[in-house]
Symmetry: C2
Subunit: 380 residues, 2 copies
């Protein structure tokens, strides 16, 4: 289905770097410190001699460093392969793309299931609570490690967009453009409610063992799968669910029982199960909690740094996204435009709700492509 100019970045591997250790611990916003921080990352494309063509990809809640291309032997590419590659909106013929697993994650970067060097056992709930700004400190350390002191663009959807916003607010001098997709600067009570119930499903699972499940050889699989199933409901629009599943039976006719009878039940069951093999319950707790507390514009100085180093913003929402509706994007835009920052905003039509940011929607991709083509014109 791919046209000749829409090729994959090909086979890629994930690297890991120890970015904080010894006398260089990671100091967190909370005041706590992490004495050893590894970061898993991938890069696609080639860094220019002047180092001016770097783009940083921030992943969403359950993403990882593997954004594009194929790991050896895999049949499915990275999670944003529609967006990143030669000839794609984030064009690896132009850009050197960096994608890293988040601090607190579970795909190679240090998180609550990592070994606590002080005890030799997994951190569990002894892992410190994180802040959006902590993610940015680790991204910046990776940039230094890679010899990059400025990104032409930082791009992310959902929690990824929140990181792009946070980085722009804290260190605008390091960013040319920020693309903030289907994100929020302030979760609503309903948003927090969904996350809270997901966390309760995990923490009330008898196998959670107050976070020491790794030590005890268990895992809150039932709670984590319930949390994931519930979250999936919020990732798709009601219309999207109707188009995709409606009331159809999973097999032939509805047979009336408590098992998987409707196709929608099979979908949720599959999503819940599949998640268990790739995600950790503690990371789910820590990363969702960062989103709950993120609320940068309550600080009246939030935009001050941007006055000297304006970042060009592209803010995108999807009209059927009810997880982070267009109103969330409009709020971000109001703050940025209120500070007279160069801000483009578009609401993209898509029936697929929040998940749209992961999909190949022509109008969406064209908008990202055009915005980055402006950035490419600035390259040496």
């Amino acid at each position: 289905m791919k046209s000749p100019n829409e090729l994959s970045v090909g086979t890629v591997t994930t690297s890991t770097a120890r970015l904080f250790a010894g006398d260089n611990p990671l100091r967190l916003r909370s005041g706590a410190a992490l004495s050893a921080v590894d970061v898993a990352y991938e890069t696609y494309g080639t860094l220019s001699p002047s180092g001016d063509n770097a783009v940083f990809i921030c992943h969403a809640l359950t993403g990882d460093a593997h954004a594009a291309g194929f790991h050896d032997g895999d049949t499915r590419p990275g999670w944003w392969d529609t967006m990143i590659g030669p000839g794609k909106p984030v064009d690896t013929n132009t850009w050197f793309v960096v994608s890293a697993n988040l601090l607190g994650g579970c795909q190679g970067t240090t998180g609550p299931s990592s070994i606590n060097p002080a005890t030799g056992a997994p951190y569990g709930l002894d892992f410190p609570l994180l802040d959006m700004a902590d993610f940015i400190e680790v991204h910046r350390a990776l940039a230094t490690h890679l010899g990059i002191d400025r990104f032409a663009a930082v791009v992310g959807g959902s929690l990824g967009g929140m990181q792009a916003l946070q980085w722009s607010l804290l260190h605008p001098e390091e960013i040319g453009r920020a693309i903030i997709i289907a994100a929020s600067s302030r979760l609503t009570a309903q948003n927090i409610a969904f996350s809270a119930v997901g966390r309760q499903a995990i923490m009330r699972d008898g196998d959670f063992r107050e976070g020491r499940f790794l030590d005890e050889g268990t895992a809150p699989r039932r709670g984590l799968s319930v949390a994931r199933m519930m979250a999936h409901i919020t990732y798709l629009s009601e219309t999207g669910f109707e188009e995709k599943f409606g009331r159809s039976a999973q097999r032939g006719e509805l047979s009336k029982n408590f098992g998987v009878d409707f196709a929608i039940e099979s979908y949720l069951e599959y999503q819940g199960e599949r998640f268990l093999s790739r995600f950790d319950a503690l990371s789910y707790l820590y990363l969702t909690r960062v989103m709950d507390y993120f609320d940068p514009f309550t600080d009246p100085q939030a935009l001050d740094a941007l006055m000297d180093d304006p970042v060009r913003f592209l803010v995108l929402s999807f009209d059927t996204d009810w997880r982070f509706s267009t109103e969330h994007s409009r709020r971000i835009v109001r703050h940025l435009e209120g500070a007279k920052l160069p801000t483009s905003f578009r609401e993209i039509h898509s029936p697929w709700g929040h998940d749209s940011f992961l999909l190949d929607i022509p109008d969406y991709h064209a908008t990202v492509r055009a915005f980055l083509e402006r950035a490419a014109e600035d390259l040496a």
Copy 2:
């Protein structure tokens, strides 16, 4: 706060009647039979000598027979006390009101946690799957027991409205008017998804014991509370949550932890806990599943009986209800109007989402009141 004409029905008690037993078992739509069925019910007001002033109240998923007035010693009245009483929209000065706990329920009517006479132990998952029509058969048996052969009106919200619709379709000769509030004739994939995840939370709880928890002295309290918390998110609108809670802290300032920090978290925790004392996990499974499968208009003969005995319908929705949005009500109205049945439809403005049907919203109550006043004009 009550005006003189808005008094309570006063102190009431719940009665129980054995309506099916011995050589009169309840034959279910599935083909199964229940050899003993008790029904808990309450009545308010006085049946007229001609018996023409009866109104039947159908309750929603987690309701019970105690719709109005006060049980001895209680400080909170029944769940629809704003609607039912002397001078209220369902005026007990005019009407003899009957309210019964549903078949499959857990507040006095036979359900999956009742004792199976064949084994002497609770049914558990051996209780047969129910159908909306089974609820109606039991309501009709109660009517016979009370000497009522026709109701001037059948009234219900949410699952209660679905019963009012089902009864109108099956036995329109027994009903003068039906008031169908915030209901649906056909759950969407998203509706089913929420119910399915709630059931999974219950059934994956280690204490569920494949439905034999009563026998084993346990209860899936964690799963049931998670299901309830999730359902509560769908009962209120996003705007309602914002107005009521926003991002406020439960105590003073946000303290950043995994406990109950935001006020919305405290609300959900409270709702989840309170539910445990009054509801049964098996009833939750059985009653939600009836809603999933309810889809009466797929039968091309669904409206045939109504041709000879037209029921007057009032269909009401609330503009911020996203559990059963106005589109659900419009679908019901399209079917009824397509058969040229006398149907009034109104979308009521209310910020409170699905829960609005339980609240004293002046425009809503005035509409119900006016509709029943028309019915009162027909009385002898």
